[in-house]
Structure formats: C-alpha cells, structure tokens
C-alpha cells in the first residue's frame, strides 16, 4: 500500500509540472515542439543526458556486463564521443539553420536541404519505425521493475508508465519534458548511486569495490577482462561496439535537442558536461554495478532476462524493502525521461513531416499542434505492443541488444544524409534518397531474414550496422557525385547564410 502511495505522489509531481507547463506555454507549434527554442545549458544537459539514459542503464547495460564482462562498456565510450560529436560538429549548424528558417523538425530541415518530399517521407517513416518500438521498451522496463518488486503482472507497470507519458507529453510539450528531466534525472542518479554505495557498504564492508573485484578475481576472473566469460568480446567486437556507440550522434531524439537551444554558446559548453558528468561520472555508476558489484554480490545468474534485472535483485536482496520502492521510482524516472523525449520527437515527425508535409500542407499552427498531441496517444498505444508481445511470451530479447542491434542501426540510416546535408555542399537529393533506401532496405531484410539457427544471413551474421551503413554512405556519395550539384540558392541558404549567422550571432 505504501508503495502505491509513494508512486502515486511521484506521479502527481510529474502531472503537476505538466499542467503548469500547459498553463505557461505560448500555445504555438514552435513552443510545443521545441520549447520556443529557449532551452538553456543546464536544462539542456539534463534534457539530453536523461533522454539517452533510459531504463537501459539500469537493466540492459549492467545486465549485459554481468553476463559478458566489461567489453560492452566500449559502447559507452563511443556514445560519449558520439554525443560530443553531435554538439561540437553538427549541432551549431543544425540549430542555426532551423532558427533562421523556422524549421520544426530535423527531417523537415533535410527535406528542404535536398528539396525532396519523397526523402521527407522516407526519413520520417524510417525514424518512426525504429523509434516507436524503443519507446515501448521503456514501459516494458518499468513493468519488469513492478513485477520484481510487487509481484504485479508486467502490464501494470507498463500501463502506469504509458499513462504518465501521455499526460506529460500532451500537456507539457518539449519545454516541460526538458524541465521534468531535471527532476527525473536527480531522482534516478540518487537512486542508482545511493543504492550502489549502500550495497557496497552492506555486502563488502572490508574493502568496498576492491573487495568485490578480488572476489570475482578468485571465482570468475574472466568477468574482469575481455573477451569475457563466454568469449564474446573479441577485439573486433570491442571496436565494433565502440563504433556503434559513436553513431549516437544520429539518434533522432538527441538530434532534435540541438534545435531547442537558446543560443550558440550552449554548443561551446555542452561538451564539457558530456565529458565530465556523463563520461567520467554518470555512466561509470551502472558500469560498477554490472561488472563489479552485482557479479560479486550475486554470482551464478546465466539467464539474460534475469541478468537484465540483476541490479534490482541485488537491491531487493540486501537492502530494506522501502528502498526498493525508491529505486523503482528511479527506474520509472529513467524510463519516462527517455520515452517522453522519444514521444515528443515521434509526434513532431508525425505532425510536421507526415501530416503537414504530405497530406495537409495548409495545416495551421494549431492544427499541427493538435495532430502532434493526438499522435502521442497513437504512438503510446503502438509502442505498448512491445509489452504485449513479451507478456504473451512471443519474444523477450534482452534489452541491451534491442538498443544496440535494432534501434541504433535504424537511427544510423539517416546519418549520411544528415551529415552530408549539413556539411557537404555537393550532396544531392538523388544521393540522399538512393543511399537511405539502400541502407534501410538491406537493414530491414537483414533483420527479418534468418536461417534455422537464427543467424541473420543477409547481414553475414555481423552487427547490422557494419554492412548497411557503409553501403548507405557509399551510395550517397557516388550518386551525389554523378548527379547535378545543388543550386546556388541551396548553397546560399544552407551554407553561406548559416556560416554568416554563426559568426555574427551573439
């Protein structure tokens, strides 16, 4: 009962913030979708860090480290570099371009850059196809947390999260989603770090993490180095994992964050926070959890789904039950903070790029805001199908691999068009369409077609991004060079004016 009261109070805080956001919002599409382009450095940092630090950092990431040793951490090092790359190299140009031309979505910016409605549809559909299931993974994570703590069925926690998400995103819009991430992020870090310190104090009182590491060294030393106990993380896979992490610069819900910035100085200081707070502090917490503390405290788990829950199991085993509720609140915070930004991004793409871009070009500001809000409900319902599939026992892929094996390769398929569109004057419409289509078609077929042993034969059983992204990029470059260069007008609007604006803007 106390559990439900605490979680109810937690939800009320989020709902109250959303309602406040609705009251103060300017009721324009720009305000709803991009927070009026007024997000400052600190809010942006919490907004982006906790948009990317989903319940995956509590379940999938430590669970995978627990099973396979520390090699998977190279995904984090790649991601830290990838986010920095976005904000150092691409962010300022995308921000300036969107601000000058009042673009509301990155897909819209690229469609205008390449002068192609077809590309707009291709990119919108691709991003939605890969982001919506990932939205669904978040309620699933909370559902697992509810299940482990209270014994309630998976769908209870998933539905609770979904309702919270709908209220937050429909009422609050991007600005409040960003503000709420400060609250959610604080709750999550406190829960994750607090539980780590407490468990270490209780289970390893004589030497802390050193004692834990020595215990693993004595019992399962392979868990302290690559390639790990199952020989998974060979040198090639470690570097491949790093490269997959680097692609974080192309995650649509992170890219759109750059468009909400108040001014260009944000791009000067943002990487500092990524390196110091993200790379040298925050991501080390789940790493220590999954690779040192959990294997020493509760060795012997081999099932991937159980490994996904290992941090929570350790907490429930060694700490008082009331603290488990607080930790679950942290997991909900992590899930909601990510899914809310993904939902905002998806709804913007639906309203701005699909509905206004294709079906209703004359839709008013109010119309597309309404469509964005309605699409939030539709996307949440669709994304809950992930929970249904798992509840029915039709699929239960470990969470870590869903992110790195499916979502990231999907997001990566717009990377050549995105990078080329912002940095390469010679990139053409035909190149962007051909490259994106080639990569996406190969990726989708490659993920779907498997042999009897489950190997993805069209991808040569390699990581999905290894063949598809280079093909996409090569086709983009070659076709661009073989087709007529973009007009002088495009060069002026998308390069010269952007450069002038960035050099002059204070």
């Amino acid at each position: 009962m106390v559990d439900l009261i605490v979680l109810g109070a937690f939800s009320l805080i989020i709902v109250a913030m959303a309602a406040y956001g609705y009251r103060i919002s300017a009721k324009t599409a720009e305000d709803y979708m991009l927070g009026g382009r007024t997000i400052g450095l600190v809010v942006m940092f919490f907004f982006v860090l906790f948009a990317i630090s989903s319940s995956w950092t509590f379940y999938g990431f430590p669970g995978h480290l627990y099973l396979h040793g520390p090699g998977y951490v190279f995904f984090i090092w790649g991601s830290v570099a990838g986010f920095a790359i976005l904000y150092m190299f691409l962010g300022p140009r995308l921000w300036a371009l969107a601000k000058i031309n009042r673009f509301l979505s990155p897909v819209e910016a690229l469609a205008e850059r390449y002068q192609s409605k077809a590309l707009r549809v291709i990119l919108a559909v691709t991003m939605l196809a890969f982001i919506i299931p990932y939205v669904g993974v978040q309620p699933l994570g909370v559902g697992r947390g509810f299940e482990a703590l209270t014994g309630m069925p998976l769908w209870v926690g998933a539905t609770y999260t979904a309702v919270l998400l709908v209220i937050l995103v429909i009422l609050g819009g991007m600005r409040i989603v960003a503000w709420v991430n400060i609250f959610l992020g604080t709750v999550y870090v406190t829960a994750l770090l607090g539980s780590l310190f407490w468990v270490i104090a209780v289970v390893f009182p004589d030497g802390g993490v050193v004692q834990a590491a020595q215990q693993i060294l004595a019992s399962e030393p392979a868990k302290l180095s690559t390639p790990g106990p199952q020989g998974t993380y060979t040198s090639v896979l470690v570097i491949g994992t790093f490269v997959v992490g680097l692609l974080a610069f192309s995650w649509p819900h992170v890219v759109i964050g750059a468009m909400t910035a108040r001014d260009k100085t944000l791009f000067k200081w943002f990487p500092l926070l990524i390196f110091v707070f993200g790379g040298l502090f925050f991501y080390i917490i789940p790493f220590v959890w999954g690779s040192i503390v959990a294997p020493a405290a509760l060795p012997g788990v081999t099932d991937p789904a159980e490994a996904d829950r290992i941090v929570q199991t350790v907490i429930q085993t060694f700490l008082p039950r009331w603290f488990g509720v607080f930790v679950l609140m942290g997991v909900i915070a992590a899930a909601v903070s990510t899914a809310a930004v993904q939902l905002m991004t998806s709804s913007i793409i639906v309203a701005r790029d699909v509905i206004q871009g294709v079906f209703k070009p004359d839709a008013s500001d109010q119309d597309i805001t309404l469509w964005a809000r309605l699409s939030v409900i539709a996307i949440v319902v669709l994304s809950l199908s992930v929970t249904v599939v798992v509840s029915l026992g039709l699929g239960d892929e470990a969470m870590a691999l869903y992110l790195t094996d499916v979502s990231v390769p999907g997001f990566a398929q717009w990377a050549p068009a995105l990078v080329g569109g912002l940095l390469w004057k010679r990139g053409t419409r035909q190149g962007a369409i051909a490259g994106t289509l080639a990569g996406v078609i190969w990726l989708v077929l490659g993920l779907l077609v498997t042999n009897e042993a489950g190997a993805r034969i069209l991808l040569l059983d390699l990581h999905p991004v290894i063949l598809t992204l280079p093909l996409n990029a090569i086709v983009y470059v070659v076709v661009s060079l073989l087709t007529e260069r973009p007009s002088d007008e495009i060069e002026d609007v998308f390069f010269t004016e952007v450069d002038d604006f960035l050099r002059s803007e204070r």
Partner: protein, 77 residues
C-alpha cells in the same frame, strides 16, 4: 566541422580526436583489455578493469583537447 577544417588549430584538434580513436583501437587489438597470458586480469587501484581505464583515458584526452580548442580557437565564440 566545416569551420574547424578552415583553420590550423581546428585541423590539429580533429587530428587529435582521430588519433585518440586510432590509439585506442591499437591498444585493444594489442590485447590491453585482455588478461595477460597465464596471468590475472589487470586491476588498477585494485578494482578498475582495463576497459574502464582505457575508456576514462580516452574521455580525458577528448576533454583536454576540447577545452583548449573551444576556449581559445572556436571560430563561433
């Protein structure tokens, strides 16, 4: 990135970032994250595994390079 390629400090900055990735890859391929043959896994300070140590060093290199370039040379200051 276009603005960085347009001046020497920017090109040096990009080169440092690229080199750090190459060096990290070389370290991994040379077995720096593996346990030594017939030996125990290396633990810095008694608990930091080599994948963690290498990653932290990598982030620190990027951090230092970023601080120098963005504070002194970034053209959009």
């Amino acid at each position: 990135m276009r603005e960085m390629l347009g001046h020497t400090p920017g090109r040096i900055y990009l080169l440092v970032l690229l080199l750090s990735i190459v060096l990290m890859a070389v370290a991994v391929f040379m077995g720096a994250t593996d346990a030594p043959a017939e030996g125990e896994a290396i633990l810095v300070f008694g608990w930091m595994t080599m994948p963690l140590v290498i990653g932290v060093l990598f982030v620190i290199v990027w951090l230092i390079a970023y601080l120098i370039y963005f504070i002194k040379y970034w053209p959009y200051r």
